[in-house]
């Protein structure tokens, strides 16, 4: 660590006091926020140096959840890595699955049938609704809302999880996408359930926004806090809603046009200030667009097979080569980089974790703000430690 542990209380006899003293400002206080802190969203640690309550230095420390996911991926077959991707960003297993499946499909040259592409879009947009609702809840919880918005968000998330459960058998560890398609073809009942959820979600968002979006305290807490300038955001590889809140029109659903996304009509909301409020609002507006995509996808879901006939489960060995596949996950660009040497296991299996890379700018966002702001800035960056630490 860059600075030894300091305390400006009288130290126990025999220990040394760090001589950071300035006659105008007094001593600096170094606080280790985390790894067990209520609002670090997992085992995340920020070593914060404070001048009063103003942050003058912030060093993120992580790795507490590190399990070397990439090494695991290199030691198991291509298929066996699929359930592990569920556990990266455990809120968004469906999009993680998709990103991995996409990379493998690029590597092996598999084509996905139209019905499966639509299904993937439906599931990805449900995941986006789920993730953004949770994020809004967590962010407001970090602002000190005593759990109310979080519980409302979880109430709705529960409905989506029930859908995931009845389709894939598991609520969060879905393990649903396969190379060249999807695992299960949904029943009409399930699609009706999605339709019902889609129809009701707008009303929930309205109520949720009435609760706090126009709240003066919330606006005062978030507007102008943690501004991220567009050039820095681009240079730092920040992706997803955080990048769009800074006003950069970059949504892989539009840019790459992967899957069936080019066939849908939706808009990409952009923020002008790049502050915490924009990051929150961009997500709320994205949820409204997701509802539009879901409506269109449900109305136009084609019939047909859900698996590429060339795909095989057992003995899958792509030819030597490499591929990088990325999609617009709810947290940003989630990508998988695979190198194959022709064996059943990937030679190199790399995850591009959006929340890990989005953390690069955490210190820049927090400098000059207070401890209370650091908490909500971290909340608005939206990290999941399962993905950061891998």
């Amino acid at each position: 660590m860059s600075a030894p542990d300091s305390s400006f209380l009288a130290p126990p006899a025999g220990s040394q006091v760090r001589a950071v003293h300035d006659e105008f400002h007094g001593d600096l206080l170094e606080v280790s926020m985390g790894p067990h802190h209520p609002s670090t969203h997992g085992v995340f640690r920020m070593i914060v140096t404070l001048d009063g309550e103003t942050i003058v230095k912030l060093k993120p420390v992580f790795g507490y959840l590190h399990r070397n996911h990439e090494k695991l991926g290199e030691n198991t077959s291509y298929l066996a890595s699929m359930p592990y991707t569920d556990r990266l960003d455990y809120l968004n297993s469906m999009t993680n699955n998709w990103a991995y499946a996409l990379a493998v499909e690029r590597l092996a040259g598999l084509a996905v049938p139209a019905r499966a592409e639509y299904l993937r879009v439906i599931l990805a947009e449900l995941t986006r609704l789920l993730n953004h609702s949770c994020l809004a809840g967590f962010l407001l919880q970090d602002c000190g809302c005593s759990g109310t918005p979080l519980m409302y968000a979880f109430r709705e998330r529960e409905k989506i999880l029930d859908l995931f459960e009845s389709l894939s058998g598991s609520r969060m560890m879905c393990n649903f996408q396969r190379f060249g398609g999807c695992r299960v073809d949904p029943s009409a009942d399930w699609l009706a359930g999605v339709q019902q959820l889609t129809d009701g979600y707008g009303a929930f968002l309205d109520e949720f926004e009435a609760l706090l979006t126009g709240n003066e305290i919330f606006m005062a807490r978030t507007q102008g806090v943690g501004r991220l300038a567009a050039p820095l955001a681009i240079s730092a590889g920040v992706t997803g809603p955080v990048l769009r809140a800074s006003g950069v029109a970059h949504d892989l659903r539009k840019v790459d046009g992967y899957g069936a996304y080019p066939q849908f009509d939706f808009r990409v909301p952009l923020g002008d200030h790049g502050d915490t409020y924009d990051r929150y609002m961009v997500r709320i507006l994205e949820m409204r667009e997701s509802i539009q995509i879901l409506r269109q996808a449900l109305a136009r879901l084609p019939d047909g097979p859900i698996m590429d006939p060339k795909a095989k489960l057992r003995g899958f060995r792509p030819k030597a080569g490499e591929a990088y596949g990325r999609i617009e996950g709810p947290k940003g660009e989630i990508g998988f980089y695979l190198i194959s040497d022709g064996s059943p296991n990937p030679y190199r299996y790399r995850v591009r974790p959006p929340s890990f890379i989005n953390l690069t700018i955490l210190e820049d966002l927090c400098l000059g703000h207070t401890v209370a702001d650091a908490v909500i800035i971290l909340g608005s960056v939206d990290i999941v430690l399962g993905e950061v630490d891998r």
Binding site: S7, L9, P12, L29, V31, H37, P38, S39, L50, E53, L140, Q141, D142, C143, G144, C145, S146, G147, T148, M151, Y152, R155, L211, L212, T213, G214, N215, E216, I217, F218, M219, A220, R221, Q223, G224, R244, A249, D251, K254, R267, V268, P269, L270, G271, D272, H273, Y277, D278, M281, V282, L285, T370, V371, A372, D373, V375
Partner: protein, 403 residues
């Protein structure tokens, strides 16, 4: 006083006093004053101790309902034994004192806090005849006692030798001192109009009804309403309740000054917080909501302490409701709200009250003018100062990418 002397319709009203006198009647006359005092103390402790217990339960239940969940419902019927289960748990938990902490101060802080937060109850008239101590400067005494709790909170934060606790202690000091001022300024008009610092006299000044239904409570006047709102906001801040719960901001400072407390000491802090809340709400009832006065003449048959209790509970429910809804302020916003919004409003409210008191003689059409001017004096500064306070903060319109 013998039962025979009680008017038949007032016996319920006087029942607590008679009970007390009946008990003290067994003692020699020389000890009766002591017994009377002790019984009063025990009664306050028992009533507010129980209220604290069930308030925690009510808070958890209501918070739960607001958050679409049932709240505690496993311990006893509807969870009614939950507070006792919590109490037993707090008592049996290990009391952890950090090695670096100052053990004496660490121990004293919760004790002092509870003791100080109980002092306020002495001067609140809970009913027509129920006031522990009749003081001429009761209001002054109340706020002096209340202000001392800040010391105990700082003591806790300092003695813990924890960085979070220290930050919280600093926050607590800044916050409590900032809000002491609007709290005091908010009740000055009451004292002005009532012409007394005695709580019983203030309640008496709010007696009577217009047409038998419109009570003469101060909250129903423009200046009184403004004073009440300012008082309640400041009371929220003084009792460290959301949205002003910065000293124990869970998502920022873990538990603030309570970080290093566990077991029963933690429970004592909790208790003190609720006692402080009850005392402040009781004072608000006394100053603005007519104390134990019934809302209309026809309902006077219900004993006065029941009215006091009902009003107190309503205010407490309001606290819980606000806690369930609002996010927390930031430190600078908190102090800005106090100094740039509440204090000027409270000062202007003094002027409004003065105007109200000067125009007490106006009748007929002039009465309307009086109301209009007073309302304008309340609403105008609120809107103007509010606009100033929330400058740069507004809902935004968002654009969409062109492609």
């Amino acid at each position: 006083m013998t039962p025979a002397a009680v008017p038949p319709d007032r016996w319920l009203e006087l029942a607590p006093l008679q009970l007390r006198d009946w008990v003290t009647g067994f003692l020699p006359a020389s000890l009766q004053w002591l017994a009377t005092g002790l019984i009063t103390i025990v009664a306050i402790l028992a009533v507010f101790g129980l209220l604290f217990a069930y308030l925690t339960l009510a808070e958890r239940k209501i918070l739960g309902r607001i958050q679409n969940r049932p709240g505690p419902n496993r311990t006893g019927w509807f969870g009614l034994l939950q507070p006792f289960a919590d109490g037993v748990k707090a008592l049996t938990k290990e009391d952890v004192v950090p090695r670096q902490a100052d053990p004496v101060l660490h121990y004293l802080a919760p004790v002092v806090l509870v003791a100080l937060s109980l002092l306020g109850f002495a001067v609140i008239p809970f009913g027509r005849h129920l006031v522990a101590v009749e003081l001429d400067a009761a209001v002054l005494y109340f706020f002096a006692a209340g202000a001392a709790t800040e010391l105990a909170i700082f003591m806790a934060g300092w003695a813990s030798r924890n960085k979070y606790a220290l930050l919280a202690a600093m926050r607590a000091l800044a916050q409590l001192i900032s809000y002491e001022l609007p709290l005091l300024l908010a009740f000055v008009p009451v004292v002005m109009l009532a012409g007394t610092l005695s709580t019983t006299a203030i309640v008496a000044a709010q007696g009577g009804w217009t047409l038998g239904v419109l009570p003469h409570w101060f909250v129903l006047t423009p200046w009184g309403f403004a004073g009440f709102v300012i008082f309640m906001i400041a009371a929220l801040a003084e009792s460290n309740r959301s949205p002003f719960d910065l000293p124990e901001a869970e998502s920022e400072l873990i538990a603030g000054h309570l970080t290093e407390y566990s077991g029963f000491k933690y429970a004592l802090f909790f208790m003190a917080e609720y006692f402080g809340m009850c005392a402040l709400c009781g004072m608000a009832v006394t100053l603005f909501l007519g104390g134990w006065q019934a809302p209309c003449a026809a309902l006077e048959c219900i004993p006065s302490y029941a009215w006091f209790g009902a009003k107190l509970l309503t205010l407490l429910l309001g606290f819980i409701w606000i806690r369930a809804t609002l996010p927390r302020l930031r430190m600078d916003q908190l102090t800005r709200l106090a100094w740039k919004f509440l204090v000027p409003l409270a000062l202007i409210n003094l002027g409004t009250a003065a105007f109200w008191s000067l125009t007490a003689g106006w009748t007929g059409g002039l009465q309307l003018v009086r109301w209009a001017v007073a309302l304008a004096l309340v609403a105008g500064p609120f809107v103007l100062l509010g606009r100033r306070l929330s400058r740069g903060v507004a809902p935004r319109v968002y654009r969409y990418a062109s492609s």
